[in-house]
Each structure stands twice: as structure tokens, then as C-alpha cells.
């Protein structure tokens, strides 16, 4: 790696008058494989090393990124960046960072099947997965594995070295029958090496999924719109908690910094302590979960990561904070700042955002329902930019009658406000599951790996159509 260049950059910034400075040197390696209808469209491997730097001069924030690994070029861009940032201070926000403990740390996650291993056995595994769905009318699979080595230093004295591998698999299926079609996309992801492809139980899951979707397509019924009970499976619980509990509690949204694109929040600065969900609801964000897709131990501002409870018994308890927003709230950062790569600034991001399990068995969740809908998976979803009203449309979904799952249902729609959704939950199952996904935020866009999940949830008296 080029640690000497990072060390030089930090010192040079300080010499040039930066009050605060941090340098992220990142060396990433990745492989991508894309299969379309069983045909290997393209494979790629990429290696890139670059440096991302943040600093303040005249209390104004500057950022620069460069992948030319030469001292003179770095000096030139630092000088230019300082000049531009000073020039902007007349209309610049006065940027302050919360005081945080400086850390010296080194951590890494071992890969059993490394990013450097040749692609033949990796491809073999992908083709074996493709075989399971060879009769599906259209199918698309992409698999990525990566390793990011990061060297982070800041002017507070932090020095954090990490090696994080990630692997993900995405698929998209289209099943046709009598001029009708059903589609489904799904993603697996872990902070591990390529070995996780064998640990995800993809073969069995895919075979079951294709069977269920085909059944839905051939035999699914449409329901009469009305008020009824709803059970969300962990996948649907996960997207709901991510979209309508995680995002609105990001402090940078609440303070308006992301207002241009990602949006603001219906949650206001003084809403800690307000109840927006039922007593059954406890929600947390935990980056320290081993192997999770959103795993990290120190954020991109050098703050040690920890588990944060966002809601307890439906009451807002904590926002996701970075060092800038923490100053506004007169607290410490809770370590939620991440950048997708060296060429992006750190923003407040969710990591693994989950609904805590309850005490019900899955049978008990269903038993109490006379008539309702079971949303096992979803396809279409969206939520407004203040995170107030959202829509989830079932992919695999069923009718519940007298406590039993009876018939498949075609694309039932839940369109509901955030408080109505979380206030209507009266039961949670004991078992939780996690789902990987990319979370988008910022301009230029940053896609971050996250987990979303939780248990089965029972919602009473919601409108379904």
C-alpha cells in the first residue's frame, strides 16, 4: 500500500493550515461475473488504489480524491483544494467535528476463498446455481467479490487499518405462463470471501422460490380491497424498517444536509422520546454483527462503531449521527459515517438495521388471524423523501383464513403511512432473518452495503388492495 503518501498528505494539509484533516487510502480488488440466460456475458476484475481527503480551513469543509499516486500531484491538488475551500468560506457552512477519542486499531476479516483465486472454480459454482433455474424463461445472475484494504488517519491521532472482503449474488427471474408473467429479484451478501456462496443455501432456496412463484402465477387470486390483518415475513419487515425507520432517523436528513436529493425527514430534531410505533417495536442498527453485509468496526471518521437502539417500545431513542451532526445535538457521534469508496465523502449511513424479535412462534402469529394477507416477499416498493408514506407490493403472497395460509394472492398492495404501519404491529416472532441490499444516498450517488431484517410481524387492521 501507499501509507507513506497518506502520511505525507495529512502532514502537508496540517502544514498548510488545515484545522482538521483525515486521509483514507483505499486499495480495492474485485471480480464480477454476469450470466444472462445461462450465457456468461462478461467477467471483470478490477484493482484501484486511491486517496480521499477531508479537511477544514477557515472552518469550511473541503474534500478531494485522487488516484494518481505521486507526491507532487497530491501536493498540487491539496494546494488547489485549500484555495478553493478558502474562497468558498464566505458562503461556507461553519463545519465543526465532535471531539472523539483517537483510536489506533487494525482489524481484518479472513477470506477462505480469496478475491485473488482464479475464476474457474468460482464460475463453476455460478453455473451450478444457474442450472437450478435453467427452465425459467428469463434469468440474470451477477456475482461480485471484493477486498478493500483501508488505511485511515486523522489529525486527532487516529490510525485505523482494515481489510474487509465482501461477496454478493444478485438474481432476477421472469416466469411466463399463458401470456402472464411474474418477476422477482433478490440479493445475497456477506462480509466474507467467496466461500459464502456455498453457505447461503441458494440451490434449495431458488428451487423453492421458483415453485412458489409459478404457483402464484398459475393459481394466484386477486383480493377485494379492504381492511384486514397482515403478516410480513422477515424480508418485508426488513425493507420496511430500513425505509421508514432507518432513513428518517439519519441526523443529516433531519438537519437538511441531504435535502437536495435523498431528501429530508418527517422526524424533527426534537422528536427523541416521541412514540411512533407500538409497544412491540424495538429497532436497532448494529454494524458490529460478524459476517453481516453492513459490517464495520470503525467508521470513516475514525469513530468506534456500536449497536444503536433507534426505537424502544415504539419510542424514538437515538438518531444515526456523524461527527458533524453530533455537534448540532451536543452529543458524541455514534459512528454512522461511511463512504462507498475513496472518491466519496463519508455520509451518515445505516449498517444492519433490524427489528428485534418478539416472543411468538410463527404459528402463533398466524393463529390469531381470521382473514388476512401474508407478504412473504416483495417486488415493487417506494417511499416519499420525508419517509412518511410507503408502498410494498407482494411477490410471493398468500391469503390467510382462520389462522391458516390458504391460497396464493397476486400482487397485494400495502400503501400506508409510517406511524400507521408501526403502530399496527401487535406481535413479532422469535426468529429473525437478515437480507442484504445496496442503500443509495448522496450526490454523486453512493451505494452502501447494508442488512435489513427482523422477524415475522403481525399488523392489525391495515388497508390492503
Amino acid at each position: 500500500m501507499y501509507e507513506d503518501l497518506a502520511d505525507f498528505s495529512l502532514k502537508y494539509l496540517q502544514d498548510k493550515g488545515a484545522k482538521y484533516a483525515e486521509v483514507r487510502l483505499e486499495e480495492s480488488k474485485s471480480n464480477d461475473f454476469v450470466l444472462k440466460n445461462g450465457n456468461l456475458e462478461v467477467a471483470s476484475f478490477n484493482e484501484i488504489t486511491g486517496i480521499g481527503i477531508r479537511f477544514t480551513v477557515n472552518d469550511t469543509l473541503g474534500f478531494l480524491n485522487i488516484n494518481l499516486l505521486e507526491k507532487e500531484k497530491i501536493k498540487t491538488i491539496i494546494e488547489k483544494a485549500i484555495k478553493v475551500t478558502k474562497n468558498s468560506s464566505k458562503i461556507g457552512e461553519k463545519t465543526k467535528f465532535s471531539e472523539e477519542k483517537a483510536h489506533t486499531a487494525k482489524y481484518s476479516i479472513k477470506q477462505k476463498k480469496s478475491v485473488d483465486e482464479s475464476p474457474d472454480s468460482k464460475l463453476k459454482e455460478i453455473f451450478e446455481i444457474d442450472k437450478i433455474i435453467k427452465n425459467v424463461d428469463n434469468r440474470f445472475i451477477s456475482v461480485d467479490d471484493s477486498l478493500v484494504k483501508k488505511y485511515y488517519i486523522n489529525s486527532d491521532g487516529s490510525r485505523i487499518i482494515s481489510e474487509i472482503p465482501r461477496t454478493s449474488l444478485f438474481y432476477f427471474l421472469t416466469i411466463l405462463h399463458n401470456k402472464k408473467s411474474i418477476q422477482r429479484h433478490f440479493m445475497y451478501g456477506s462480509t466474507k470471501g467467496y466461500e459464502c456462496l456455498k453457505e447461503w443455501n441458494i440451490h434449495e432456496n431458488l428451487a423453492e422460490e421458483v415453485k412458489a412463484l409459478t404457483n402464484n402465477l398459475k393459481n394466484g387470486i386477486s383480493i377485494k380491497p379492504g381492511t384486514m390483518d397482515l403478516v410480513t415475513a422477515p424480508e418485508v419487515t426488513g425493507i420496511a424498517v430500513h425505509e421508514s425507520c432507518g432513513h428518517p432517523l439519519e441526523a443529516d436528513r433531519i438537519l437538511g444536509r441531504e435535502g437536495a436529493q435523498a431528501g429530508e425527514s418527517f422526524v424533527k430534531k426534537d422528536m427523541i422520546g416521541e412514540k411512533i410505533g407500538s409497544d412491540a417495536i424495538n429497532i436497532y442498527d448494529d454494524p458490529t454483527m460478524e459476517e453481516s453485509y453492513g459490517f464495520y468496526l470503525y467508521d470513516d471518521e475514525g469513530v468506534k462503531a456500536r449497536k444503536k437502539y433507534l426505537q424502544k417500545k415504539g419510542v424514538i431513542t437515538e438518531f444515526l449521527q456523524n461527527r458533524q451532526t453530533a455537534v448540532e445535538f451536543n452529543i458524541k457521534s455514534n459512528g454512522s459515517a461511511r463512504a462507498s469508496a475513496f472518491d466519496r465523502e463519508p455520509l451518515i449511513r445505516m449498517s444492519n438495521t433490524l427489528v428485534e424479535p418478539g416472543n411468538f412462534s410463527e404459528n402463533e402469529i398466524f393463529e390469531g388471524i381470521k382473514k388476512g394477507i401474508y407478504l412473504k416477499s416483495f417486488m415493487e416498493w417506494n417511499i416519499d423523501d420525508k419517509r412518511w408514506q410507503q408502498k410494498y407490493v407482494g411477490s410471493e403472497a398468500y391469503l390467510i383464513e382462520n389462522g391458516k395460509i390458504t391460497k396464493p394472492v397476486i400482487a397485494p398492495v400495502l400503501e400506508i403511512t409510517t406511524p400507521a404501519l408501526w403502530s399496527s404491529v401487535d406481535a413479532l416472532s422469535k426468529k429473525m432473518e437478515f437480507f442484504a441490499g445496496p442503500c443509495g444516498k448522496g450526490e454523486p450517488l453512493q451505494s452502501m452495503p447494508v442488512y435489513m431484517g427482523g422477524p415475522h410481524m403481525r399488523l392489525r387492521g391495515v388497508h390492503i388492495r
Partner: protein
């Protein structure tokens, strides 16, 4: 820059690669983010990327080379080529691959792709101008200003050698006024055509008009879509025009070639003067063109590179993408629609939607989707704008939307957006009978 590209090409040829494309681009960029009327980030970047695409026996590898040690460039390239060839040897052949374009080619001159004035631009002044203009009619502004100056070279094993140079400017501003908001974007290759103040005025005007929105109602509406949502729809149509999307099951234009699907003309024009994505050659060096994807409402062709064109027994439209063809500048023309100076006057009972976000599909093949109006969204009664509304959702089908476009505005504007990365020159459009849903509780 050229030296490394040429040596990569030479070495890959020597090692037996069949088709080779090297694209080396150096980019210097500025990215200024503002929020709550203040600059919150001054971003600068210098990046040098060398994209490498090659095939060997129809096995396709796409990778990148980074010059990490300029003193030992040749040695690095030789090691890189050896490891790339080894990686490629483990791959399977792509049965659908039919090769890249065979040159040499003559390219058309396109006006206004590079602006020297952009080099020494005072970007902070641009941002300040935008904020100050918007603040005349609003309380708060958020947004971004981006500038990139790119220089590079495209080389292929099939006699393409083309120098590339361009400036890229983009300004996005969202204005807030109490509980109202408006958003407007502009992009350009030339500084004097970047409409910073006009966009700021538009965003603030919408913000002021949209104060105190009432709860909207579900139902069927005739909707005038502003340019921000129209560029989102244009992007959806363009993505569906890719054969890669068709074959992946994610195109609502599957099996629609030769069929009447709308009333507009829909054009992809890589040669457009000042076009944000204008370029004389596509990613394989094939000369670009203006392509009528939809003419008088009939879908004429998909976007093609040389490989997909051979598969579909047609000619390349100059839209490579080496793996997947992509659009350049999207243009909506009136076709069989009427062209109206004020679309709102045409509507008896409808909505004026100035922006949308979070467009997602239940089924890409059928086009069933929803998207959420954000910023100013207004009731139209008897040709006049009434109160603004909130908390509604457009839940419809993309083919229905296309079929029901009945009029477009006279004036077009070049823009792209967060949700619509492919730029275009688009008007406002009037769509009849659009389904709107909302949460009951």
C-alpha cells in the same frame, strides 16, 4: 496517457487477444454541495482511468489498468496483460458476442463539446448566483454544482484511434419555502448554456406556489408532467430500448418493434450540439448518429452496438456500450401529439406534477410501476393551477403512460437528474387518464 494505451494495445495483440478496446481518460472535476443556503462541501478530484476490454475466442474480459508507478510503466503493463490473459483463459465463451466495429472511420464534427471558459471558472460564484436567485422567492436552498474536464483517447484493435475531449457542467437546485418545495436541474457542455439562474428561479417559483399542500386524493387524472419527471420517463423508455434489457426480461418494449405504442417521436442523438452525452464515436469507436427510436408513435429500433446489431440482423445505431448498448442524448419530439405553449390550459381536471422520485416496477416486462410526486404538485381545474397536494403516488403502467401522451410543450430543456442519469432535451408532457393512489391510513 496515449503511451500507456498504445502499449496496452500492442501487448494484448502480441498475447493473442482478438478484439481489443482501450479507453484512457483523465478527468479533473469540481463538486460543490450546498445545503441550507451554505456550501457544505468543496470537492475536487483528479482521476485517470484506463478501461480495458478484450476478447479471446469470444471470452470477454472487462477490466481496468491503473498506472501506479509511472517510472516502470512498461513492466506494469506487461504484468497486467499476463494476468488478464490468464484470467480470461478460465472464462466461458459468450455465445451472443459478434465482435466490435471494424474501422477506420471518419467522424462528424459536433459543435460545443468543449468550453475553455470552464477551465478557470469561479464555481463558488456560480453556486452563489444560484442560491441568491432562488432566495428571492424561497427560504432555503440545497443542491450541487459539478464540473468535469475530460481528456482521453480511444484505441481499438480494429483501427480506431480517436482523441476525446470535453467539458461537462451540471447544476441542481431544490428550493424550500415553508412546507413547499421546488426542484430544477440544468446540464450543458458550454458555460453560457448552463441555466443556473433560470433553474434557481424555477425551483423557487414552484416552492412558493406549493406552500401549504393539502392531502391529495386517489383517482384518475390528466397530468401535466414537468421536465424533471419527463426525463425520468425518457430514461425508463431508453433503458427498455436496450437489447440487453429485452433479453434480461426488464424491458416493457419487448416484442414492440413495428408497433404503435405512443404518439410522440423519441430520438437518441449523439451528435446533438452541446449535448451532455454527445460524442463523435461510441465506446467501440463506431461513428455515432441521430436515431429515431420511435417515429410517429411506432417503435422502429432498439439501441445497438455492432455485436447486438448482428444478432438482431440490423445496423449498429452507434450506441456501444461494449456489453450493453446505452443511450446518449434523449429527445422527445411531438410526433402525432399537439405542441402547446401552455399545457395547463388544456386540462379540465388534473394535476401538474413537477418532480417524481423512487420509480420502481412490480413487473418490468408489463411496465407496471409506481413513482412518487415530490416538490410542487398542483391541482388543475379548468385550465388553472389551484392548490398544491401531497402524499399521493402515481401507480400505473409505463405502456399506458406512453399511449396516453397527447400533447407536449413547445420549449425543451436539457437536463439530467439523480434518478435519470441519461441526459436529454425534454419538454413538459400531458398524459391523459393516469392512475393515482394514496395511503388510506
Amino acid at each position: 496517457m496515449r503511451e500507456s494505451a498504445e502499449y496496452l494495445l500492442k501487448k494484448l495483440k502480441e498475447k493473442g487477444a482478438d478484439d481489443i478496446v482501450i479507453r484512457s481518460v483523465k478527468s479533473e472535476g469540481v463538486n460543490i454541495k450546498f445545503a441550507n443556503n451554505k456550501v457544505v462541501k468543496n470537492g475536487l478530484e483528479i482521476m485517470h482511468g484506463i478501461g480495458v476490454f478484450f476478447t479471446k475466442d469470444k471470452k470477454i474480459l472487462a477490466t481496468n489498468f491503473q498506472d501506479k508507478d509511472p517510472k516502470n510503466l512498461k513492466k506494469q503493463i506487461e504484468l497486467f496483460v499476463n494476468s488478464s490473459m490468464k484470467f480470461s483463459s478460465f472464462l466461458q465463451a459468450n455465445k451472443d458476442y459478434n465482435g466490435i466495429a471494424r474501422g477506420s472511420f471518419k467522424y462528424k464534427e459536433i459543435k460545443d463539446l468543449y468550453d475553455k471558459k470552464a477551465e478557470d471558472l469561479d464555481e463558488i460564484n456560480c453556486v452563489q448566483k444560484g442560491i441568491n436567485t432562488a432566495l428571492k422567492n424561497s427560504e432555503k436552498t440545497n443542491g450541487i454544482f459539478e464540473k468535469a474536464i475530460e481528456e482521453g483517447v480511444l484505441l481499438t484493435s480494429n483501427n480506431v484511434d480517436k482523441d476525446l475531449k470535453g467539458t461537462y457542467l451540471y447544476f441542481s437546485i431544490r428550493a424550500f419555502n415553508k412546507d413547499g418545495s421546488g426542484h430544477s436541474n440544468t446540464c450543458s457542455r458550454m458555460l453560457n448554456k448552463l441555466e443556473i439562474e433560470k433553474s434557481a428561479e424555477e425551483a423557487a417559483k414552484i416552492a412558493k406556489l406549493s406552500i401549504s399542500p393539502k392531502e391529495g386524493d386517489s383517482g384518475k387524472y390528466d397530468i401535466v408532467f414537468g421536465r424533471m419527471p419527463t426525463i425520468v420517463f425518457a430514461n425508463q423508455i431508453a433503458e427498455s430500448c436496450s437489447p440487453f434489457s429485452v433479453e434480461s426480461g426488464v424491458s416493457f418494449l419487448t416484442d414492440k418493434i413495428g408497433k404503435k405504442i405512443t404518439n410522440i417521436d423519441f430520438i437518441d442523438d449523439s451528435l446533438k450540439e452541446n449535448g451532455y452525452n454527445s460524442t463523435p464515436c461510441d465506446d467501440e469507436g463506431f461513428p455515432t448518429q441521430k436515431t429515431e427510436l420511435i417515429k410517429d408513435g411506432v417503435l422502429k429500433t432498439y439501441l445497438h452496438n455492432s455485436s447486438t446489431a448482428k444478432k438482431y440482423n440490423t445496423k449498429s445505431t452507434g450506441n456501444a456500450g461494449l456489453i450493453e448498448p446505452h443511450s446518449s442524448n434523449l429527445i422527445i419530439e411531438k410526433g402525432k401529439c399537439s405542441e402547446v405553449s401552455d399545457l395547463i390550459k388544456e386540462v379540465k381536471n388534473g394535476l401538474y406534477v413537477t418532480n417524481v422520485w423512487y420509480t420502481r416496477y412490480q413487473n418490468y416486462l408489463t411496465g407496471d410501476f409506481s413513482t412518487i410526486p415530490r416538490d410542487g404538485c398542483f391541482i388543475i381545474k379548468n385550465g388553472e393551477l389551484k392548490n398544491s397536494v401531497k402524499n399521493i403516488r402515481i401507480s400505473d403502467n409505463m405502456l399506458n403512460i406512453m399511449e396516453n401522451i397527447v400533447a407536449i410543450s413547445k420549449e425543451k430543456k436539457q437536463l439530467k437528474s439523480w434518478e435519470a442519469q441519461n441526459p436529454g432535451f425534454v419538454p413538459e408532457i400531458l398524459v391523459k387518464n393516469v392512475n393515482v393512489s394514496k395511503a388510506k391510513i
